[in-house]
């Protein structure tokens, strides 16, 4: 296997692993802050975000490995992040 072919096989896999590890936690953390924008009391919103974060993290990891390409995985992550970011920012 040439170095180039090797990189073509391993590259997307590494990309997915990074997307799963970083993206999974980042979206979970972002969600836990975005929840604060909901009309809930502060302690309830904080706890809701924490409780749901593990499901979100799991969902992201599964999604990243389920979609057809690493690029699609990243795009999906960015779309969700873009939707959550303004909410998290408003807090």
């Amino acid at each position: 296997m040439t170095a180039l072919r090797r990189a073509r096989v391993i590259g997307p896999l590494v990309s997915r692993i990074v997307a799963a590890l970083l993206g999974g936690y980042a979206l979970a953390a972002l969600f836990s802050v975005a929840v604060l924008a909901l009309p809930l009391s502060k302690p309830q919103a904080v706890l809701t975000g924490q409780l749901a974060s593990f499901a979100i993290c799991t969902g992201v990891v599964i999604w990243v490995f389920a979609v057809r390409s690493a690029l699609k995985a990243w795009i999906g992550l960015l779309i969700v992040a873009a939707a959550l970011a303004p909410l998290a920012w408003s807090v």
Binding site: V35, L40, S41, P43, Q44, L47, T58
Partner: protein, 525 residues
């Protein structure tokens, strides 16, 4: 997806196996603690928690008269000791004194039995390990639990025909049998495995996802508000400096008992005891309610007058309380606790069979079975030490409890050192011996050590198994009978390992016989 399942499961698999097994044992941590303090007499009849609370409160007042706060965990019928801790006013910040001890519920005095962490060691190891700071230990545990959650979901997706496979178990077929066992164990306990993994993450969620809290909670008042949703500990206010004795704790606990009917009071917390500003909180016990959210009543410590009832938290906090309680299973009666133990043991076996399956699958594909590549050998050796070796190490912990001199300095820590020294030796042994021989020898060693626990106990204490059985001391007898049951389990595994034909050939044959045996196959993600 199956690649995700395999790698999420394998990379933290050894950590998960240890977490699962020590967690499983922790469902009986109170009973194990009783067994590990053989000098402490067992309780022959239930005690009145109100009387015990008064006794221990008086004793703490004598031991730590200047305490700003103390907390007593009342006996619930599973323990023959009463745990309490107290805070002392310290000099500067960080120098705050902290004391804790076990008390005899009958006399109120400190327990004089040998010093040991007892079942609490496995309990703490289960979520924060040892020889590292609890902070890093808990992060590692969270990472492992998260990997577990991903592995479970990916496993369910990979494994489409759950129910047909559940009823087709093929013994003695190498890889096929390991896969069948792994599937059956996973499917049967699936709801439990998902629950216990998710709730495990919930118990430490404030550590894992602190961002919402950091963004929203800024003032001390908000912090207090959040804390009130989570626990019954009130921060001690400023003492007045005026010394006033506490009112009757017994009467307060009785009042709480009346309110909760048959459910016992679980804890008594005091802030500024002995001061004019004293407050006493009596919290509801775990029995009879599946929630850890705060449910307590507050009294004026000087007059004994009921001040407030705190029995309601918000929906999210209540959800968290229920999930937390589901993980610990402390609400459960003895039958439910056994069910927890058995299904949890199946979860341990699920992780264990998954780890072994990795090896069995790859052995069939090795180009030269005599000279496997480094990764293969590493996984193979780590499997032996973390599965069979852990059984030996955990049993060695019990042996250490009986054999280390009672007066030894730092005794509780040496029991734990014994556990790790023995575990390290099993790894060394696994590295030095041929794999199959290492499995067999370690499984037999575990079986022998477990089988001899009752003998060891009979020789070193005044409470041999026959006496425990005759007196109906089920805490003691239960531990020892369980050791025999586990010894039998290890012996069966040792015999099966010995009977298995040379691994590589068996693996190849199984592969040929079932070319579709790739339900958890190694396909690129």
């Amino acid at each position: 997806m199956s690649g995700l399942h395999t790698w999420a499961g394998l990379l933290l698999g050894w950590v998960l196996y240890a977490m699962f097994l020590t967690g499983t044992v922790s469902f009986f941590k109170e009973e194990l603690s009783q067994w590990m303090r053989p000098e402490q007499p067992r309780l022959t009849q239930p005690l009145d928690p109100a009387v015990v609370a008064q006794r221990v409160a008086d004793e703490i007042g004598a031991i730590a008269p200047g305490a700003t706060q103390w907390s007593i965990k009342l006996p619930d019928g599973r323990s023959n000791t009463v745990y309490a801790f107290w805070r002392l006013p310290g000099g500067g910040p960080g120098a705050r004194g902290f004391g804790q001890d076990l008390f005899d519920p009958v006399t109120g005095h400190r327990v004089a039995a040998r010093l040991t962490l007892g079942g609490d060691f496995f309990y703490r190891f289960h979520f924060q390990f040892y020889y590292m700071s609890p902070f890093w230990g808990r992060l590692l545990a969270g990472l492992a639990a998260m990997a577990m959650l991903v592995a479970i979901v990916a496993g369910v997706i990979t494994h489409k025909k759950i129910f047909t496979d559940f009823f087709t178990f093929r013994w003695g077929k190498g890889q096929r049998s390991w896969l069948d066992a792994h599937n059956a164990l996973s499917v049967f306990g699936l709801p439990f495995h998902v629950m216990i993994t998710y709730t495990g993450l919930v118990t430490l969620m404030a550590l894992y996802v602190p961002w919402g809290e950091r963004a929203a909670i800024k003032t001390p008042a908000e912090r207090q508000q959040l804390s009130a949703e989570l626990n019954a500990f009130a921060q001690a206010g400023k003492p007045s400096g005026e010394t006033v004795p506490l009112a009757s704790i017994e009467a307060m606990v009785r009042q709480a008992q009346q309110r909760w009917g048959t459910t016992d009071a679980g804890r008594v917390n005091a802030t500024n005891p002995g001061d004019a500003t004293a407050r006493i909180a009596v919290t509801r016990g775990d029995a009879g309610r599946v929630s850890m959210s705060p449910d307590y009543i507050e009294f004026d410590g000087v007059t004994g007058k009921l001040l407030a009832v705190h029995d309601r938290v918000g929906a999210a906090a209540e959800t968290r309380g229920v999930l937390y309680a589901l993980h610990l299973g402390r609400f459960s009666d003895i039958a439910t606790r056994w069910l927890y133990f058995l299904v949890s043991l199946m979860g341990t076996a699920m992780v264990g069979t998954g780890l072994v399956l990795w090896i069995v699958k790859r052995r069939a594909k090795l180009p030269d079975p005599e000279r496997p590549y480094f990764g293969f050998r590493l996984v193979e050796r780590l499997n032996i030490a973390s599965i069979a070796g852990l059984s030996i190490a955990m049993t060695a912990f019990l042996w250490g409890n009986r054999l280390l001199p009672v007066a030894m300095a730092e005794r509780p820590f040496w029991e734990i050192h014994v556990f790790f020294i023995v575990w390290g030796l099993t790894l060394l042994h696994a590295l030095l011996r041929p794999a199959k021989a290492a499995w067999r020898e370690q499984l037999w060693t575990a079986a022998a050590l477990l089988a001899l626990v009752p003998v060891l106990n009979a020789v070193t204490t005044q409470r041999p198994l026959w006496r425990s059985l005759a007196e109906g001391d089920w805490e003691f007898a239960g531990i020892e009978l369980m050791c025999w049951a586990l010894a039998a389990l290890h012996a069966v595994l040792a015999i099966r390992t010995a009977r298995q034909p040379a691994g590589a050939a068996a693996g190849r044959k199984a592969e040929r016989r079932s070319p579709i045996g790739t339900a958890a196959g190694e396909t690129a993600p």
